[in-house]
Symmetry: C2
Subunit: 581 residues, 2 copies
């Protein structure tokens, strides 16, 4: 035993005890004849006291300790003369009688403090040091806590955690697979799973009834800031269920997580159809922490000679409550904001509903007071409000207004990261048409069933068929999604055929699943949650990287271990592959 206690647990009740602590030197302070050293470990910080009068040479050794030295200190717990109420151990200090340096440290390349002076690249390279900083360490510990809470909920609800294989088969559908050359089967490759979808369905065919797994998945995609080539899912599947059963079970999971991890009671989840989400929020993962719904103005504003409106497929507004005092400068800046390439609009129109009841718009030339009053009615504006209007191509304009709504919510402080609004988005379209190829694509994946009411449309009007699918959305982030699956071989074949698979292709890639459906597949459905994203949401962070112990950068590299890297010619030869330049 190197220690009797950790650096977070000693308090006034321990005064007088001899203890031994281990940890890292956070900082030292010399005050006349006294030297104070803050000793840090995962559990907290405890102040060590060295007294020149009591032990000259020991105090000299303490003064030589550098930051991040690993030390072992033995001494008596004493009450502090000046207490620190901000620290759990702030009432006491250790009057050290014995000090041992277990390992010295070079000067770290950045400061190990809550706020550090290290840049992103440096912190990635020395990730093991960045992980020492309390905010990063706490993020990883939050993730642990969430995983345990998820498992205990699932276990207590009768779900069996089953590990599905990592070395599986490449299926070109969807995103790119990572592949693994097989030495024992030259010229052949395994693929790493993008999700355990087909395996969990097979487990339902096997009769496991309720399955879950917290599992690594892999996608060889070009990376954005918040994507990682390897990511973690909470993957779940149930048999003999309808949509309502799944929604209840996983609403329960969300409620349990918020309560157990954040001590928050969340209300019953709102349910909103895909159509309404698009109509009122301009996207299928609405941030419901604030209202500011989109209002379509096509019927209200067209035909008044204003070409921008008259030529537009969609004219859409939001009413920003209480912001009629927005200055010209602010509005100009907002106009520039919507013109950015990421938003892509050519301009912004506004109408200030002044506190005196008058309405002043940026297009007064075309709209008189009566007409502006109709805008106000359409948008339900009140004196003091600001109406913002975008017009243009339907899909781009809706998307832009969704962004503008979020931006205004952000500016007005309506998106508090400590407030959580959870909802189910339902009734997605089953298929979407790729405009270029004219082919149908599965909006979720090809195993999703149609809503029972819409099955009859599959042959006649596939674009109208709604999926028996659901997404869980929290604060504008899609944290999970799933569906009731197809469990009938013929319907699954029809789906593949709708998606442009030949029978042969379908059989080659997914024959094992369709064959399994012939041997008594139960009705089943499931859901998968993005665990990295869920953790970052609970932790109040934008970035999932903070919640991954060893993340990769945007080029898919782990700069700490310098991977990927070249491999030896011998390895290549054994694997029967060659690198092509």
């Amino acid at each position: 035993m190197y220690r009797t206690h950790n650096c977070g647990e000693l308090n006034i009740s321990h005064v007088g005890q001899q203890v031994t602590l281990c940890g890292w030197v956070q900082r030292g302070r010399d005050l006349g004849g006294l030297t104070f050293v803050d000793l840090r470990d995962r559990y907290g910080i405890t102040q060590l006291l060295f007294n020149m009068e009591t032990d000259d040479s020991l105090c000299q050794s303490a003064r030589k300790l550098g930051r991040e030295f690993v030390v072992q200190a033995t001494g008596i717990v004493s009450e502090r003369s000046s207490k620190n109420p901000k620290m759990a151990t702030g009432d006491i200090e250790i009057s050290v009688s014995k000090l041992e340096i277990l390992n010295p440290s070079a000067v770290p390349p950045f400061t190990i403090e809550d706020d550090t002076d290290g840049g992103d690249d440096l912190r990635m390279k020395y990730r093991y040091l960045d992980l020492r900083r309390a905010p990063v360490m706490n993020s990883i510990m939050l993730r642990h806590r969430m995983a345990q809470v998820v498992r205990s909920y699932m276990d207590s609800n009768g779900f069996i955690e089953i590990e599905t294989p990592v070395l599986i088969k490449s299926t070109p559908e969807g995103a790119r697979d990572f592949v693994v050359p097989s030495r024992m089967n030259p010229g052949e490759f395994y693929a790493l799973p993008q999700s355990p979808q087909t395996f969990k369905q097979l487990l339902m065919v096997s009769g496991f009834d309720k399955y879950f797994q917290i599992v690594k998945c892999f996608r060889d995609e070009d990376l954005r800031a918040d994507r990682q080539p390897e990511f973690t899912q909470i993957d779940c599947e149930m048999s003999f269920v309808q949509r309502e059963d799944i929604l209840n079970m996983f609403e329960g999971l969300a409620r349990h997580l918020f309560k157990a991890v954040l001590s928050i009671d969340i209300p019953t989840l709102d349910r909103i159809s895909y159509a309404d989400a698009m109509k009122y929020y301009g996207n299928d993962k609405p941030d419901l922490r604030f209202d500011m719904k989109l209002c379509e103005l096509n019927d209200t504003v067209k035909g008044k000679g204003f070409k921008v409106f008259d030529d537009a497929e969609l004219i859409v507004a939001i009413n920003v409550t209480g912001q009629s005092e927005y200055t010209r400068k602010q509005l100009d800046e907002l106009t520039e904001w919507v013109k950015r390439p990421q938003i892509g609009m050519s301009g912004l129109i506004y109408a200030k509903h002044n506190t005196d009841g008058t309405i002043k718009s940026s297009v007064d030339k075309f709209f008189n007071a009566d007409e502006l009053a109709r805008w106000s009615t359409a948008c339900d504006s009140k004196p003091g409000d600001l109406i913002l209007v975008l017009a243009g191509n339907e899909s781009r304009t809706r998307k832009a207004m969704s962004e503008l709504r979020l931006e205004m919510g952000e500016r007005l402080g309506l998106r508090d990261k400590n407030v959580f609004k959870c909802a189910w988005v339902l009734d997605f379209p089953l298929l979407e048409k790729d405009e270029e190829s004219g082919r149908w694509h599965a909006m979720h994946h090809p195993f999703t069933s149609a809503l029972p009411d819409d099955v009859h449309l599959l042959d006649t009007d596939p674009g109208k068929v709604r999926a028996n699918a659901y997404d869980m959305v929290i604060n504008g982030v899609e944290v999970g999604g799933g569906s009731i699956r197809i469990h009938n071989k013929d319907i699954q074949k029809k789906m593949f055929s709708l998606l442009g698979f030949s029978d042969e292709e379908a059989q080659k890639q997914f024959g094992f699943l369709m064959n399994a459906f012939e041997f008594g597949a139960p009705p089943h459905g499931g859901i998968a949650f993005g665990f990295d994203r869920l953790c970052s949401l609970f932790g109040g962070s934008e970035s999932i990287r903070d919640y991954i112990a060893f993340p990769k950068n945007n080029a898919g590299r782990d700069v700490m271990i310098d991977s990927p890297s070249s491999i030896s010619d011998e390895q290549l030869k054994e694997l029967a592959i060659k690198v092509v330049n």
Copy 2:
């Protein structure tokens, strides 16, 4: 909701209730005007009753149900006239009033019963059907239970579960890596981890203090019956610990697992040195369920003119209690057994210690009664015992005697799979010499530290240095192993140099770890358990495959999904690789 109850929960207290069950048709029986159908799900089997008098057409439908059809049945819970005390639901049956076929089934390729008529290959191909059989399903559920119990023990002891990356860096040390070509970094490869060893050590450098993970690992080895290319470890690491701390913590884990999963109280673990294990049991993972220790007879039997003994490096015996009545036929058969290539001995010598006190050996020509009495003393035989002797090259003979001991234990029923004997094996050699190359190899791995008492021998006599390492052995199976690690850069460098690494190679492959040691690495150590093996041991099975939902065969193939498989030219091109024939 497809059902109100599952097929395992109804009993006499539910009589009179209307219920709806779902499940698979296990079998049907027609008895005059009655039809019985056993309905199966994960939870159990419930008998459905159809009465020709009550509902003719319903009963006819029931008679048409095939095996493994998925059905939904509604009816009243009734008390059975002839009860089945062997079934949890044996007191009741369901008088069915409504029956729906949710999915029919083709005739399964083998019977879905506890004992099946399906061969290995067929059952692997239709693994999703094999998983329906109770023994296989129960094995997977045991695994789930064990994983949850492990996690709750680790969590309650302050361990943080942290996911380490799957896409890491290839290090040619040890077994072969599976590699993954990187599309974004052409010509470069990730490797799949053989273990998270270096990452868990970095987590200790980060200050996580206690880490664990139940994690998939990968080894591209030629497969034996009980090896899989992907396997699962319980991986653990702790800081500021000595060997004793680790032994206590994980002895606690073993005790907790046996109690929580099998309701068995295991005694304090025996501890045995590597040297004693080799001496008394002939191998480093002794089966301690029975005694039958090896006795070396070199001093007792040499120099009597028997060339086999006189030329042998080692003459070693076991005393088989109470087996002096072994027949000539049995002894001949045993002789053939030791001559098999897997054992590789040229013969077996025996001495029967008869119940009348006389000793009769197979080499009476060379050894008189007095001399045989000395054999008896050396082996501590009693009247009625049988002494078996092997002689020859030291290492092969010791290994053969270890096998013979296990074989005799097996034949005498001393290896009851419901009895568990757990032990720690300690004080392994740190290094072993490869006889061919003359190079030192790390017996565990290059991160293992030497026992403090032996450190001084590293420079002078490295072969004598004992490792600060430990294996947990249960019933002759090594279920886990670990060590106190090196945490000092200079010692780690020295270790790599002893192992024949140039400084440059060591830096290229493990530089990130050695650099991390410069920034305040705490003393640390850990252990990893083979989770598949541990599950099979708890389940009383020889094979780990039963405890893996979707295992691969000995050629590394998943014959169910037909993987590995070829990939498209487009994929190869994107990955900048080419298959070489």
